[in-house]
Amino acid sequence: MPIIDIRAQIGTSRTWGAPSGPADLLKVMTKHNMAGCVVSSTLANSCDFQTGNRRIQQEVDKQPRFLGCAVANAAQTDASIADMHKYVGAKNFAGVILTSGVPGKHVRFDECSDILNAFRRFGKVIFLEAQNRDGVAAAKEIAERFPTIKFAMLSMGGADWLNGVAAAAKTVNLYLEASGDLNPNKIKHAYEAVGPNRLLFGSNWPYSDPALTIGLIEDADISDGDKKRIFELNAIKLFGYGKPAE
């Protein structure tokens, strides 16, 4: 079954010894029949969003199977808005990962409203990290306050995926990206709560092997048609990615 991965990062990383450059990602994509991948920069996610965003633009301009994802830092609003204007309007950019600027800390509505107001014009997707209950609550509030923007909650809320699913069930512009916790009940539970159309395959490569989340979804007690939605069709619809494979 063809797959589009909506979450991967390129660049040097803390996955010591496991290569994580664009060629390495392409090799993994070929191995797992991935037609496309939304990529951000490891450096942008880590400590230098401006240099990282510039690098990602260079990579996606060379590789049609990649869609770029810029990173915005809520602690640097003006520079983040400037970067959004530089990159996000391009056809080969999917949206923005919104970070707080503090490692491990989720972004709050009061920190990012200016950035989101500037983002609205692009009609693309905002990706939000939410690794615990507070992060899920913050993501839900942000999505509710900006109902015309589509948001993807990365890792469905991490270990707190039950709360992430509950939040998405009440918030129709909040999508759930499947990487993170490998609880075998997760996908079926999310499917029953929000339906198949707001679930998206993401691997969080290189920090996680795509095989793990692929296996998780393939093993879920849902139809093959709904698995195809999660693996491919929902991403195509959300990001305008080419055409579905036959």
């Binding site: 996955t15 010591w16 010894g17 290569p19 075998p184 009940n185 920090y207 795509p210 793990l212």
Partner: protein, 245 residues
């Protein structure tokens, strides 16, 4: 991966869980093992590490009775261990095949006198010891405990941030092994095989708390030769378990 490679899962458990998200029933575990053609699975009751190790071990022994696909694993909580505890009799009578420790969940350091005392009692039992070593420094502390012992130790819970420490510890002590369920970073298993070889890497899934299908797929697609995959999937753990396992 060659079709129908034998798989022995070194890391499963069953029992109650405080988290509503997780069904850890024995039925679910047995069903997962059957659905994925797992030959055998090392398992223990969560009661042993969440509540009381004596009660947990009794639950493990009872659950494994009459189920040859399940390999009973004992646990001991050093915080409740006394020299009079007579663990060796308990391990032998219930035919446990491995002993597992949970310093992270139970919040004790590996350089801990009761733990050392338990190891002294286990020294000639011929049972492998699995121990969680997810935090920096824990594998290093275990190295000191492992030196000069016959016991074979299996590190579990190692993530990509702990690989360098695990590799160094395994280089220095050939009685230290590593289990795969937390090695989720892309290429992590291959890296460990490159650094220390395939003979001390042991497949584990964390089922049913974590997806067995995902763990098997990770091995299926790993950039490793089939003979090395077979070692990891079953040969290595079978070498460690008592011959009557």
């Amino acid at each position: 991966m060659k079709a129908q490679m034998e798989v022995v899962d070194a890391n499963t458990f069953f029992g109650p869980s405080p988290s509503p998200a997780t069904d850890l029933s024995l039925e679910l575990l047995v069903k997962a093992i059957q659905n994925h053609a797992i030959s055998r699975a090392c398992t223990l009751s969560t009661v042993g590490f969440l509540h009381n190790w004596v009660e947990g071990n009794a639950a493990t022994a009872a659950a494994c009775e009459g189920k040859p696909e399940l390999i009973p694993v004992a646990t001991i909580d050093p915080r409740g261990f006394f020299p009079s505890s007579r663990i060796m009799e308990a391990l032998a009578s219930n035919r446990f095949k491995m002993v597992r420790f949970f310093p992270d969940q139970q919040d004790w350091p590996i350089n801990y006198a009761p733990f050392t005392a338990i190891l002294d009692q286990l020294e000639h039992a011929g049972l492998p010891v699995m121990i969680s070593a997810a935090r920096p420094g824990q594998a290093t502390a275990l190295l000191e405990s492992a030196k000069g012992r016959e016991i074979r130790f299996i590190l579990t819970g190692t993530t990509y941030e702990g690989i360098a420490e695990a590799v160094e510890v395994m280089r220095k002590a050939d009685n230290i092994f590593i289990e795969t369920h937390s090695l989720i970073a892309c290429g992590a298993i291959e890296l460990i095989v490159k650094e220390v070889g395939p003979d001390r890497v042991i497949f584990g899934s964390g089922c049913p708390a974590a997806s067995l299908a995902g763990a098997l797929r990770q091995m299926q697609f790993a950039d490793l030769a089939d003979p090395d995959k077979q070692k990891i999937l079953s040969d290595n753990i079978k070498r460690l378990l008592p011959s009557q396992a």
